[in-house]
Symmetry: C3
Subunit: 247 residues, 3 copies
């Protein structure tokens, strides 16, 4: 019995995450639950997709990942589950949220639209598919139910991608909670952003306090940071802004 991870935009102030977990443990009592984050900005599917992408590689191979950033809940958007080349399972809405993480773990080997209601909560609300559809399906996958039993084969929507690049032209993919600017560049080099130079360093302690620096972060991507400060505040940069490698 394996790991089930959870990533949502529910926050922790209400009991929505607790209800997801209760729904999973009701069906798969021996599952080990791991929170990836529940602080995805509300309904920001791209941010959720990026955060899921950052986290899945460190999870045990074969984990089940439930992700819920779902502005279209209750509409005609599909509910889906998929298996990656590495053997992890993903469950969530078909709005692009799952795709970068699937690609990171060897691509999408198989995907289904969730249509088999016997694997869901007996009655489903129109606002909380996380608890009523995704969580039960994830629990059944953790119990060993075959993906093909959960629904019909489907091609996942790909409304965006996390396009990693060797540069020299790149962009900010994500601004983290400390104001670090994570770029889509995988080179170890100094960089320019908003007209300011960020000197390459190999680790934080090599920077001066307050200095704008570039370093390779834990996901292998170049990050623009300020030692003991916020690069987002210092540069004014936001997601999508251009970054250029120097030298």
């Amino acid at each position: 019995m394996g790991v089930v991870t959870l990533l949502t935009d529910f926050g922790l102030a209400d009991t929505y995450v607790g209800q997801l977990k209760g729904a999973i443990l009701t069906i798969a009592p021996a599952a080990t639950l791991v929170d990836l984050t529940h602080a995805v900005p509300p309904q920001d599917v791209f941010a959720g997709a990026f955060l899921l992408w950052t986290a899945v590689e460190a999870a045990p191979p074969g984990s089940v990942h439930v992700a819920v950033v779902d502005p279209g809940v209750g509409s005609s958007r599909k509910a889906v589950a998929a298996r990656s080349g590495r053997g992890d399972f993903f469950v969530g809405p078909d709005n692009g949220l799952l795709v970068p993480a699937l690609d990171r773990l060897g691509g999408c080997a198989e995907a289904v639209e969730l249509t088999q209601g016997q694997y869901w909560r007996q009655t489903q609300s129109s606002t909380f598919h996380g608890r009523d559809i995704f969580a039960p399906v994830a629990a059944h996958l953790a119990n060993g139910v075959a993906l093909a039993d959960l629904g019909q084969p489907v091609e996942l929507q790909r409304p965006f991608s996390v396009a990693i690049s060797d540069g020299p032209h790149g962009q900010v993919l994500h601004v983290d909670a400390y104001g670090n600017l994570i770029t889509n560049l995988r080179r170890a080099a100094s960089a320019s952003i908003q007209g300011q130079r960020a000197r390459f360093v190999s680790h934080y302690a090599a920077a001066q306090p307050g200095e704008l620096i570039a370093l390779v972060g834990s996901s292998g991507l170049l990050e623009i940071a300020v030692r003991d400060g916020s690069a987002a505040a210092l540069t004014g940069a936001v997601r999508g802004d251009a970054v250029e490698l120097l030298n």
Copy 2:
């Protein structure tokens, strides 16, 4: 060995929740711990009771629920444990916190005042009964100790209730972290609040951005919401304000 859920007003900035969990796992090492929420507004017993009410139905039947919102800790308020009709156990202060959730799971089948100190931490602080009394008792219940062994039969205090209604007159029970106004009405209908009309929709995506809407939420209660916004901010409504069904 089952699930032990936790709901408190401790927040996550200190280690109080971690200490609760350590105390439980010391006695019941195979328990599966689930956080419902730790962001109950400090000492707001009614909000804690409502949030517990929202969460317990999704938990596995037979779970043990520890809830600590306890402004009277150290005073003469009783410490109690109870069993619901569904077979879940509840542990916490006797201030009304546990009662709505008990009622939701089939009512209170049995309740005791916690008097048997051999099931507590060896020494108890006067400020942290969560760690020193409630957590150890919950762990013993998870281990199969009988409720009747923990203390003397008691009638629980009922200083308030979560009174669900068919309307047309209702009120706001809770304002969630997104500014959604959860009412005590279980009807699917448009509603009026603070002189504004909230149009009934079946799901969020059916609303216009910025529109005040009414929809049936994940607990089966009518919620007043704003797509991509805060109904609390738009209407100025707070807990207790009147809501009237339209149709």
Copy 3:
């Protein structure tokens, strides 16, 4: 298979904590993970050390504690693991973070510098030793690997201490999320801080709303608090400020 606790300054908005957990469960799938807190102020090693000190006594004896508040990551600061007199293990940077908690659990019985890379992630980033070194090492300790196999004996750095005192002169060790001022004094007495008198009470409910009080908190230390308010806001006191026992 036992408990692995986690304490960091990573926050919960990103997936860093989730990646730590994935790294642990990849190696020790049956470990029970417990969050102590992830809200240590960024890079505040003393605050992290104090919070770890508050939490470890309630954990099951023999637990493994991973702590990451690590401004020197990637520099020449050592990575270490240690065993306490009680038999708990600690893993983290050698910057003082682990020492007060070790002392609380019977002192440091054995410590090693982590030098045996076969117990680490295959490739290590220079910014995230939590995931790449500390988490895998903690998982191997939970699996029963001997401390001596992980590296060479080392004397831990002790750049500060949590010096508990009987008074009458003491200081503020920590300001918690509610504005309570936790002192280094273990006496039950009224106290003076910033020229204001804090009356001793045995529990919160014995105070008047808004009254500045002193009471013995859950760690056995005298705390200055305000019922339904913030002692930090009322007194202006910060960490390090003097406190004097009265009578």
